[in-house]
């Protein structure tokens, strides 16, 4: 690895870290929210988030998995292998009772937060993700 490559990698790592921090709470919330309609696999979750946000939110699919892993570790979601609608093997995630509670809590927190930010910026409750 040359020094240049190394620094590029380091930079991209830094950036992604920043973005992840920005996303951290939100992505978890979005995943939990999506799963309220029933078990879903990773690709399905990514699609659902994109679709329900009218393609406003562009989720990098790869970034979904660490989040899923984290939620699973916290026992907010559980996973098992199954067969997808188009007859392919996939790992399905579903909401646990603990996760449902967490969703309620997070939703509440998020709406208070976004309302507060909105009030300050004078934008109403709508928040745009850049």
């Amino acid at each position: 690895m040359t020094t240049q490559e190394k620094s590029t990698q380091a930079r991209s790592e830094r950036e992604s870290k920043e973005r992840l921090e920005l996303l951290q709470g939100t992505l978890d919330l979005l995943i939990l929210r999506t799963l309220i309609f029933g078990p879903q696999h990773g690709q399905g979750i990514a699609r659902a988030i994109q679709q329900t946000s009218d393609e406003e939110l562009l989720v990098e699919h790869g970034a979904l998995y660490p989040a899923l892993q984290r939620l699973e570790d916290r026992r907010w979601i559980s996973a098992k292998w199954g067969v997808s609608a188009n007859n392919r093997k996939a790992r399905f995630y579903s909401l646990t009772a603990k996760g449902r509670q967490q969703l309620l809590h997070e939703t509440n927190k998020w709406s208070r937060f976004s309302a507060a930010i909105g009030k300050i910026l004078g934008l109403g409750v709508e928040v745009k993700e850049s």
């Binding site: 696999h41 990773g42 990098e60 790869g62 998995y65 997808s84 392919r88 790992r91």
Partner: protein, 874 residues
């Protein structure tokens, strides 16, 4: 926690399925296969990064790194087997020494007796001014203590003795406790079989012909036969009934002396041949103990006992004098054995700790040297992006690998040694063994010590790693600065050499003490002498018959070829035990103990004993067969006794002294001073009475031969057996019998010697490592010196001067410390004197030799440096 919930492979297949699904969806939207796949991959982002993050999110990351470090460390260590072997061995020695010493400490001193509620069990000692506390009490005093105290749940007493047991024409000797009737009730011991002795079994002297067997004896002698209960056996020819068997774990009430059986103390006359139950002044009961009542503390209990003490002093001033009592732990008979044993074990633990510390210092400097050699590797790893934390962790892992392997090896060795020690019976005549058993505590300590030492020496190169500048090293090669300032390594080496010098000095002191004690005058000549104990008591002879039997035996043995002299004594000196009596001036009328002039050891001996024992008669005469009951009472005394009683100026011959009962004894002879109880004792007074005037049930014959005493042993045996086939006999050379008296100082010397050798080995490896390292570092410099014409002396000075300087500083410091430590040793070792020129010279010489030995190879290496080869390199 250690279980991997998902494997990386499973994760990969999930990602795969994600991309497949996305591809299919895109294809369904009308894209071509290739476009769809490209799109799916693109929206997914960096697959590798997802996998990496997945890996990092796992909880086993720490263990993953750890196992990698272990594997890498093992590989690195395998590449330098010499270093690894030295390091592991050093640590194994250190940890092994510690766990052995701790094992002994643990089972002899920390652990209480194996009886119920051992924590409230206390032994009652008689506090004394002149000789310190003693465990011995009289039976009468015991009864008063038992019946008058209000602080104990019963008080029990026991005495250790030996008797012949005969289950049907096969008399064998057995060791037993003579116990008070309430012994088992006080101890709360339930029988394994049958029943145990009860207080209600006693109805005056010789009223309770019962014995209780220990489990071990029942198992070995009666092959677990449950029918023994109620069976009759002969004890010294008296019929006794077996009541029952004690439970398996119960081995009596003193740690190292497990009896075969228990007999009632009230039957003393059957067992010992004498009845001392009513003699208040005769303190023959070995120990009194009991559970302190709940809610009563030891201070209150002692006060209670002392109020009984003042009652005793008031009513029995002649027998009891000033009676006061103290409590101590019964496991090692209070301070009788416990005191010196505890002091010695603590001292040993300290020395073992020093050994480990020296080992750590040794390894620390080795590691520091290694880290310096590996500075390139470290720099490279840092340059490649490893964090300093990771590099340090790697180094610590290596240290831990060494410390665990060393710890396991050390522990293994110590377990083997402890087991051997536990099975070892140092004396043939006594059932004495050390009940050491490695247990969880010992293992725990070993593990703890190995981790602690791993961290200790692993931390030494830390600063070096933290200060590594990868840029400088990669660019400029080795980071050797020519600085001459004192490095951590030097300090460690000096510390280690100092510790080793302490060990060498103290072991030299101990060895010297032992040598002195062996060559000191014992007052007897144990060489070429045989000790024979024909147990007349066990053979059923009465006290009245014994004098005639003894004389007959002496005549028969004296007539054997090769026998030059033969004598009888009630008990030989230096054979683990002794009797003392108190002596008064001839003009004394008030026989309180406080008026006594001396407390000499006393022996009852026959005519011919002094010749047979090799005790030289300095003045007067020895006993004859006419010094019998009808003759006036006479005594032979040792020189010190004569001086103590009659002063140096007067002639002691013909003078008189008195015993407690007022009897006058005339001094008819003076013999040389000797050792009577143990070889390390201070010069002590001793008196000898004619055996015909002073009855005893004990008989020891001293047979002096012109050649090897072992060779006449067989003839002695057959001669005595010819006179009485049922006579229990014990025959041993006097030298071997004296092992007991030499045991303590021998053990001390052996353990100190081992520690000293360990210390020496450690300093050799330490100095060697340091010297070899500095030579290899400076080969180029040395080569240049040789090339420009340096002499051998200069080369050596350049290469090893520093090592020798450190050695000198360390040795000097260690010597001073060692001489200070010697004061502690004086408690155990015979005449341990720190200001002994031989010890001083020996220690200096030893350290010098060690230094020479350790620097020999490095010096050879330094001298063999070939400048041509070196110059051609690089």
């Amino acid at each position: 926690m250690f279980r991997r919930k998902r494997t990386a492979k499973e994760f990969r297949s999930e990602v795969q399925s994600h991309i497949e699904n996305e591809t299919q969806r895109l294809r369904e939207q009308g894209l071509s296969e290739d476009e769809a796949r490209a799109g799916a991959t693109q929206t997914f982002g960096n697959v590798t990064r997802a996998e990496e993050r997945f890996y990092e999110s796992r909880r086993w990351l720490f263990w993953d790194h750890f196992s990698r470090d272990v594997r890498f460390g093992a590989r690195v260590l395998r590449k330098s087997p010499g270093f690894t072997a030295v390091a592991v061995l050093t640590l194994a020695l250190g940890i092994g020494a510690n766990s052995v010493v701790f094992g002994v400490l643990n089972s002899l001193i920390l652990k209480p007796l194996n009886v119920p509620n051992a924590e409230s069990l206390w032994e009652i000692d008689r506090a004394g001014k002149s000789r310190g506390a003693t465990n011995y009490q009289s039976y009468k005093d015991y009864l008063d203590l038992r019946d008058r105290n209000r602080s104990f749940d019963g008080l029990a007493a026991y005495n250790i003795t030996e008797a012949a047991i005969d289950t049907g024409n096969n008399p064998t000797r057995a060791w037993m406790y003579e116990v008070s009737g309430n012994y088992f009730e006080v101890l709360r011991i339930q029988p394994f079989l049958g029943r145990v002795l009860r207080a209600s079994d006693e109805h005056g002297p010789n009223s309770a012909p019962y014995i209780v067997l220990t489990y071990d004896y029942w198992h070995a002698r009666f092959q677990d036969d449950r029918g023994v209960v109620g069976q009759k056996v002969l004890l010294n020819k008296h019929p006794y009934t077996i009541l029952g068997v004690t439970p398996p774990g119960f081995r009596g009430t003193v740690l190292f002396f497990a009896p075969d059986m228990f007999v009632p103390m009230i039957n003393q006359e059957d067992i010992d041949g004498v009845n001392e139950l009513d003699d208040r002044g005769n303190r023959w009961v070995f120990e009194i103990f009991g559970h302190v009542k709940e809610g009563v503390n030891t201070t209150q209990a002692t006060a209670d006992l002392n109020s009984i003490g003042s009652y005793l002093s008031e009513n029995f001033p002649k027998e009891d004098g000033q009676a006061s009592f103290a409590l101590s732990r019964p496991s090692l008979v209070g301070n009788f054995i416990g005191g010196p044993a505890r002091a010695f074990a603590k001292g040993l633990m300290l020395l073992a700790g020093l050994i480990l510390l020296a080992a750590c210092a040794n390894l620390g400097s080795l590691f520091a040297a290694r880290a310096a050699d590996r500075s390139r590797e470290v720099a490279l790893r840092l340059a490649l992006g490893a964090s300093r934390g990771r590099v340090l962790r790697q180094m610590f892992t290596e240290a831990l690998i060494i410390s665990s392997v060393g710890g396991v090896a050390g522990l293994w060795g110590s377990v083997v040694l402890l087991r051997a020690l536990g099975a070892w019976t140092p004396f043939t005549r006594f059932p004495i063994h050390m009940p050491v058993e490695p247990d969880a505590k010992v293992y725990g300590i070993a593990v703890l010590l190995s981790f602690a030492s791993g961290f200790l020496f692993g931390a030494v190169p830390m600063r070096q790693v933290l200060h590594t500048d990868p840029y400088e090293i990669v660019k400029g090669g080795s980071m050797q600065k020519p600085g001459r300032r004192i490095s951590v390594r030097d300090v460690l080496l000096v510390a280690q050499i100092a510790i080793c010098a302490v060990l060498v000095t103290s072991s030299l002191v101990a060895v010297r003490g032992l040598m002195r004690s062996v060559h000191a005058s014992f007052g007897i000549e144990p060489q070429k002498a045989l000790l024979v104990e024909p147990d007349l008591r066990m053979a059923g002879y009465t006290l009245e018959q014994m004098p005639a039997v003894r004389r007959k035996m002496m005549d028969a043995i004296g007539a054997l070829p090769g026998v030059t002299a033969v004598g009888v004594t009630g008990y030989p000196p230096l054979a683990m035990g002794g009797n003392t009596t108190i002596v008064f001036h001839d003009d004394t009328a008030d026989f309180r103990p406080s008026n006594a002039v001396s407390t000499p050891f006393f022996f009852r001996v026959s005519p011919g004993y002094f010749d047979a024992a090799g005790t030289s008669l300095l003045a007067g005469r020895a006993f004859t067969w006419y010094d019998d009951k009808e003759a006036p009472k006479v005594a032979v005394v040792n020189e010190l006794f004569a001086k103590r009683l009659f002063g140096t100026s007067a002639d002691p011959l013909g003078k008189y002294f008195k015993l407690r009962d007022g009897t006058r004894y005339q001094v008819i002879g003076i013999v040389a001073d000797g050792k009577y109880l143990n070889v390390a004792e201070e010069p002590t007074t001793a008196i000898f009475f004619p055996i015909l005037q002073s009855e005893t049930g004990e008989t020891w014959m001293v047979v002096r031969s012109s050649g090897d005493p072992q060779q006449i042993a067989g003839e002695v045996r057959s001669t005595l057996r010819g006179m009485d086939p049922g006579l229990p006999l014990y025959i041993q050379t006097w030298i071997k019998e004296m092992n007991g008296a030499l045991f303590a100082s021998r053990m001390a010397t052996a353990s100190l010697g081992v520690l000293g050798v360990m210390g020496a080995m450690l300093s050799i490896t330490g100095i060697f490592g340091m010297a070899a390292y500095s030579v290899s570092k400076r080969r180029r410099e040395l080569g240049i010196r040789v090339a420009v014409g340096a002499q051998r002396k200069e080369i050596l000075e350049a290469a090893l001067g520093r090592a020798f300087k450190l050695l000198a500083i360390g040795s000097a410091a260690g010597l001073v410390l060692g001489l200070l430590a010697t004061k502690v040793l004086a408690f155990i070792v015979y005449q341990a004197s720190p200001r002994d020129p031989v010890v001083l010279a020996g220690a200096v010489l030893a350290m010098l030799l060690l230094g020479l030995l350790a620097t020999w190879i490095p010096a050879r290496r330094a001298l063999s440096v070939d400048p041509l080869i070196l110059m051609r390199e690089e």
